[in-house]
């Protein structure tokens, strides 16, 4: 009896993790909107990204989860926080929203959300098809990346180079 209950509890653990992460992500996104200091918005976004990384783990793709943490949480968001600190960005100024935006925009945004969720819920996707339980191996992903997608991969390296040069030229103090 106790063993059965334990088994059921163990079966529900992914479900609990999913709902915890989903709630965390949505709460972080809402916080990003409501908070007025950019630095708090950045911290909320980091929470969202970590929650999404855990969801990637739940979906069985460890490599993407690691990349999410390292590149998004570790590089991009640090860059954001760095720029916010550098520019000493304070609380954003309140501007007078138009009444139309408040009373029509918010319901319409909510309606858009509802609509997307509705159509996604009706979409016919295979019910959690059977990938291996241990998830996608990084080896298979690497094979795919370096065989079928080799040219886009090399193209992104050039893109990164151009982006670095562009950032340097832009951020340089003009004489």
């Amino acid at each position: 009896m106790a063993g059965l209950e334990l088994g059921e509890a163990r079966m529900n653990i992914p479900l609990i993790v999913f709902f915890a992460c989903a709630l965390l992500a949505v709460a972080g996104a809402v916080t990003l909107i409501l908070v007025r200091e950019p630095i708090y918005s950045a911290l909320a976004l980091i929470v969202v990204m970590v929650a999404i990384a855990i969801l990637y783990l739940l979906l069985g793709s460890e490599f993407i989860a690691a990349v999410q943490i390292i590149v998004y949480g570790g590089a991009i968001m640090v860059l954001f926080v760095f720029v916010i600190m550098l520019l000493n960005a304070g609380a954003e100024e309140r501007t007078s929203y138009s009444k139309l935006a408040t009373y029509v925009g918010l319901p319409l945004a909510f309606f858009l959300l509802l609509e997307i969720a509705h159509w996604l819920a009706r979409a016919r996707v295979p019910a959690a098809g059977g990938p291996p339980a241990e998830g996608v191996s990084s080896r298979a992903l690497a094979t795919q990346l370096f065989r079928q997608y080799l040219f886009p991969f090399e193209a992104t390296s050039i893109l990164i180079l151009v982006a670095v040069l562009g950032a340097l030229v832009l951020a340089r103090k003009s004489e």
Binding site: A117, L170, A171
Partner: protein, 102 residues
């Protein structure tokens, strides 16, 4: 292993994308608007991974990898532009950066 329906991931992804759109429209700070773009990219990535899992294919994960790489490049250039903007106009408020407006 109790499978969580893929649809739930898609609904979560849609919710995050919608919140990203709302943040993009409502926020008044350039940096925060840029952050909401990242939020939308994350939501789309989640949908990609969920579909990759549903169809048991790796292509979705490769796309996510590319999206993350391009997002890194985009963040570097975008933040450089924001630094330039802050130096030249001395404001981060989007309402005052209306040079290209009629």
């Amino acid at each position: 292993m109790s499978a969580i329906p893929i649809t739930w991931y898609l609904v979560l992804s849609a919710a995050l994308f919608g919140l990203g759109v709302v943040a993009f429209v409502f926020k008044r700070n350039v940096i925060t608007i840029f952050m909401s773009i990242e939020l939308m990219l994350n939501a789309v990535n989640l949908a990609f991974v969920a579909f990759a899992r549903a169809h048991n294919q790796l292509d979705g994960l490769v796309f996510v990898f590319f999206v993350i790489v391009v997002a890194a490049a985009e963040a570097a250039v975008g933040l450089a532009i924001i630094i330039m903007l802050a130096q030249n106009r001395e404001t981060l408020n989007i309402e005052r950066l209306n040079l290209l407006k009629f």
